[in-house]
């Protein structure tokens, strides 16, 4: 079968395409009508949604593993902070510049690293995150070390700034939807099908003429670009970043979101990010001790439970049910 299309040519049923947009619209409306705090929580969810959508390219579609995507989020965040603060660059330009830096770094680092497999790949990517963490702490003249970087300007374009959380929330949700749209278009394209073939079997994919190493690298770079954007958006949204923001806890949190929403699905990462962001708000009154610690414990526990009992993510529960139903119908 020859498929010249770069992006997906498959027409979608109109109502399923409209559904997420309606859901997003409802969310924005909820965020706009309630307190600024809720808007901040939803903004976080959108940012993590971007990050997880990128991670999904590499882990979900391609079936690889990277435990160090936080490195690229840190690059994006610090890139944005330094470029806007030191050079007075427009936030949007700073985001694009950080993206290109992250992309180049991912290309250079990924080329040798992605030849590794199994626990070697896991540790090598984990080390990427740790090295970046160390550098952001040690290179104090550039990053302000442990103290973190504050006073980062909010999102804006040509001198016009998005003044409050609610305006920013709209921008973040639009960006997240755009990210998911790209992911959706690429998923069924020639490129996306190649990635999924690699996830199925590298040997079989290679036998079909797919350049496995190059496609893996492309997925890794895309994931890094998404991570960089997420890091930048975080910096502009909150106005403050520190090494701890992009630490190991971020890795586990993003995996929790990915598995909650369904790994390898288009909308899963965004949905998972939303659910995971709302969990601490629901549990706020019952969490023991310090909120931050209790929150991390809950995320870790959820992740471990999912990994044990529903390793394909919660969304697989639905397809399990569907498969059973269709089996009943046929039998």
């Amino acid at each position: 079968m020859i498929s010249p299309a770069i992006t997906s040519t498959r027409p979608r049923a109109a109502w399923t395409a409209a559904l997420p947009v309606i859901a997003a619209g409802a969310l924005i409306a909820y965020g706009l009508t309630s307190s600024g705090y809720i808007a901040t929580v939803l903004g976080f969810a959108a940012i993590y949604g971007v990050f997880c959508t990128g991670l999904n390219f590499f882990m979900g579609y391609t079936g690889q593993a990277s435990f160090g995507q936080n490195a690229f989020a840190a690059l994006g965040g610090y890139g944005s902070a330094i470029l806007t603060d030191r050079l007075g660059l427009e936030p949007v330009l700073a985001i694009l510049a950080s993206m290109s830096i992250a992309g180049i770094v991912a290309l250079v680092v990924g080329y040798p690293t992605l030849r590794l497999r199994g626990h070697y790949l896991a540790m090598a990517t984990f080390a990427l995150g740790l090295i970046t963490y160390e550098i952001t702490i040690e290179w104090t003249s550039l990053t302000h070390g442990y103290m973190g970087y504050s006073g980062i300007p909010p999102l804006g374009l040509f001198g016009y700034e998005l003044a409050n959380e609610k305006q920013q929330l709209v921008a973040l949700v639009v960006i997240a939807l755009f990210g998911v749209w790209i992911s959706n278009r690429l998923r069924n394209s020639r490129f996306g099908r190649a990635l999924r073939a690699i996830a199925g079997s590298e040997a079989a994919a290679a036998a079909l003429g797919i350049n496995v190493a190059r496609y893996k690298l492309a997925a890794f770079v895309i994931a890094a670009l998404y991570a960089s954007v997420a890091g930048s958006l975080f910096a502009h949204f909150i106005g403050f970043i520190s090494p701890e923001v992009f630490g190991t806890a971020m890795v586990v949190l993003s995996f929790t979101m990915l598995y909650l929403g369904g790994i390898g699905t288009t909308w899963g990462p965004l949905v998972g990010a939303l659910i995971a962001s709302l969990i601490p708000e629901v549990l706020r009154s019952t969490l023991p001790g310090g909120l931050k610690e209790g929150q991390d414990i809950v995320y870790c526990a959820i992740l471990i439970l999912i990994l044990i009992f529903v390793p394909k993510g919660l969304s697989s529960l639905g397809s399990l049910w569907q498969a059973r139903r269709s089996a009943v119908r046929e039998g």
């Binding site: 593993a65 435990f67 040798p112 690293t113 030849r115 590794l116 497999r117 199994g118 626990h119 070697y120 896991a122 540790m123 090598a124 984990f126 080390a127 740790l130 090295i131 160390e134 550098i135 040690e138 190991t248 806890a249 890795v251 586990v252 995996f255 929790t256 023991p288 001790g289 310090g290 610690e293 209790g294 991390d296 414990i297 995320y299 870790c300 526990a301 992740l303 471990i304 990994l307 044990i308 390793p311």
Partner: protein
């Protein structure tokens, strides 16, 4: 620039801390050999060893040897709990390697956070086991604790050697590492071996943590660096060989000590992680196997990955 004393000093210090890395690395190998699982929560046992000993020491006021003797089985029990609650269910369900690694990573963060909530986030340290020192030889200053580390380390390696060579359980563990199916057919309870492997490797981590705490400090977050250094030690040694992990740890410790002297303390982790990447990319079968291959005139690194 560096003089001979400085180099000797870093060799001595590097040996001490390197032996600790080696012990953690052996912990990785014990679990990996018994099950093919890589436990990313290995460093947590090092942290728990130091923290438990410190807590027992300050709350109960018992001698340090007694506190250590209580802490080590406690940490081993923690290892068994991790195995029983998290690793075993996944193993029985045939989870992928990445899923298990991710679960152990989540376990590490969970245990760290629980430690913050129960024991606090302040760094703490233990007194050196023998007061006084450092011992001065010429320009060298050797802290007494290094002798404790070297002595206990050597003792432990000897005991491990006896355990794996002479005891029934140790031999069964080695049988598992060679071929799990065949071992199971010969009546080795493979599931129980996994539990023993976790207990043993947690105990090794705890000993490492107790020995190293007097020379630096312990806090909820020391686990990750020790885990990573132990992993690097295991990789240098070719992942799976206990002797290789020990040698790799000492090599890493010395390399790190030299990096501290030449580049500054801040670069200690960067140096170690760079060493990891170089070894992974150039000698994926371990430094020693890789060098042997090079000496034999054939680099197997290309196809054996």
């Amino acid at each position: 620039m560096l003089d001979a004393t400085q180099i000797l000093q870093s060799l001595v210090n590097g040996m001490g801390v390197g032996l600790i890395y080696g012990l953690v690395g052996i912990g990785f190998c014990v679990i990996y050999n018994a099950s093919g699982i890589v436990n990313f929560a290995q460093g947590v046992f090092v942290m728990l060893g130091g923290m438990f000993t410190h807590t027992l020491l300050t709350r109960l006021g018992i001698p340090i040897i007694l506190a250590a003797a209580i802490a080590i089985p406690l940490v081993a029990a923690a290892g068994v709990v991790v195995e029983f609650l998290i690793v075993r269910p996944m193993w029985n369900r045939g989870a992928t390697l990445f899923a298990i690694i991710l679960a152990t990573l989540a376990t590490q963060i969970m245990i760290e956070r629980i430690t913050i909530l129960t024991l606090g986030d302040q760094p703490r340290t233990l007194n050196e086991f023998t007061a006084g020192g450092p011992l001065r030889i010429g320009g060298l200053a050797i802290s007494y604790q290094i002798f404790w580390i070297l002595g206990c380390g050597a003792l432990l390696v000897g005991l491990l050697w006896l355990f794996f060579g002479r005891t029934r359980t140790g031999r069964a563990l080695r049988a598992c590492s060679q071929n799990r199916e065949a071992a199971a057919l010969l009546g080795v309870p493979v599931g129980r071996m996994l539990m023993i492997a976790f207990a043993l490797s947690a105990a090794l981590g705890a000993v490492a943590g107790i020995l190293v705490t007097p020379t630096q400090y312990t806090a909820f977050n020391v686990g990750t660096p020790f885990g990573v250094y132990g992993f690097i030690a295991a990789i240098i040694g070719g992942f799976g060989s206990a002797g290789g992990a020990l040698a790799g740890g000492i090599l890493l410790g010395i390399f790190q000590a030299l990096a501290i002297v030449t580049l500054g303390a801040g670069f200690k982790n960067v140096a170690a992680l760079s060493m990891l990447l170089v070894v992974l990319l150039v000698f994926p079968n371990g430094l020693f196997a890789g060098l042997k291959g090079l000496l034999a005139g054939r680099s197997r690194s290309a196809d054996a990955r």
